[in-house]
Amino acid sequence: MILPGILASGISGHLFSSNYYSIATQTVTGSSVLAVTFSSIPSTYTHLQLRWVGRTTRSTTSDSLYVQLNGDTSYYYSHGLSGNGSSASAYADNTNPNNLGLATASSATSGMFGAGVTDILDYTNTNKYKTLRNFSGFDENGSGTIRLSSSANIGTSAAINSIYIYTNGGGNIDVGSQFALYGIK
């Protein structure tokens, strides 16, 4: 069986549009915010997909976007492939929260945003640790990173009912950032 969520972020193919629903969208307007939250996520879907464009107020050219599921602050096990325009690298990490990917930050030219698509698979299943698959990147016309990663929170198998997104460097999520959550049946 082909999973629409897999197709949606990973490979080409035919989707089943009647199975893909918008749940909620958070757009940062007016002033930057410390975090973006999706709460009371309905349990009526099979997979979730988070699509985002992001920029933070950190005084760098890029910044990681972290995510907590159900408010769980424990660290995630993740593996990734990354390219920075000159070399490719692989990494593993079990000392940080789950990383959605790299957004641009305040030292980047105005108007530049990172982007990403994260699939959260089988999010209501209470017999599995939850796996996130992240595809993200930013380009700033001379610098940038493209990244593929998979991660899991080893320690809880609870169904996911909330998603909390925040920045690595203690800065805010900047105006113009947008996070849209979708459910896939």
């Binding site: 549009s17 699509r51 492939l81 930013f138 016309n141």
Partner: protein, 174 residues
């Protein structure tokens, strides 16, 4: 929080004969993101070419840049093309005339926040072909214009072959 289903097919273009480009025009502005899915091959007498293209009428090299991550079966690498050296919405690995008959490249491109008129446009995509390799990429179009058309072509102007097909989907957020 519930809404109507989305991930809606907007249009499909399939070449019935060789052609220099594939275009989507008059793209509706009613979605949040676009997703372009396709298979392509070109007539260039080589085993690998590059799929590219442009948004709206901006076919110059000035406003596009790209960062890619590639694997070819033996080596992983990353590369970049910046303003002035690159034109296009892809740097896709494109199957060509010297590949085995029937081998087409696969293309997936997420065009994020395409109708926004205050930010530049960032796209993330994946592409590849069985006899060439695989690639992930991020592309920046430094324009705040809403994307109303997409043109897809081979980088040197060679034709795309019969059977090349692209479908454009729209995703509407709540």
């Amino acid at each position: 929080m519930a809404s109507a289903p989305t991930y809606t097919p907007i249009a499909t273009q399939t070449l019935a004969s060789n052609a220099s480009s594939v275009s989507f025009t008059s793209i509706p502005q009613t979605y949040t993101d676009l997703v372009l899915v396709g298979q392509a091959r070109c007539t260039r007498a080589t085993t690998q070419s590059t799929l590219t293209g442009y948004f709206n009428s901006d076919s110059a090299t000035t406003n596009y840049s790209y960062t890619g991550l590639d694997g070819n079966g033996s080596t992983a690498s990353s590369n970049r093309l910046s303003s002035g050296s690159y034109q296009g919405v892809f740097a896709g690995l494109l199957a060509a005339a010297n590949n085995t008959a029937g081998v087409f490249s696969q293309v997936l491109l997420h065009i994020m926040n395409y109708s926004n008129t205050t930010t530049y446009k960032t796209c993330i995509g994946r592409n590849g072909a069985a006899e060439i390799g695989t690639e992930a990429e991020v592309i920046l179009w430094r324009s705040t214009a809403a994307i109303t058309s997409i043109t897809i072509n081979e980088i040197l102007g060679n034709n795309l072959v019969t059977g090349t097909t692209f479908t454009l989907y729209g995703i509407a957020s709540a």
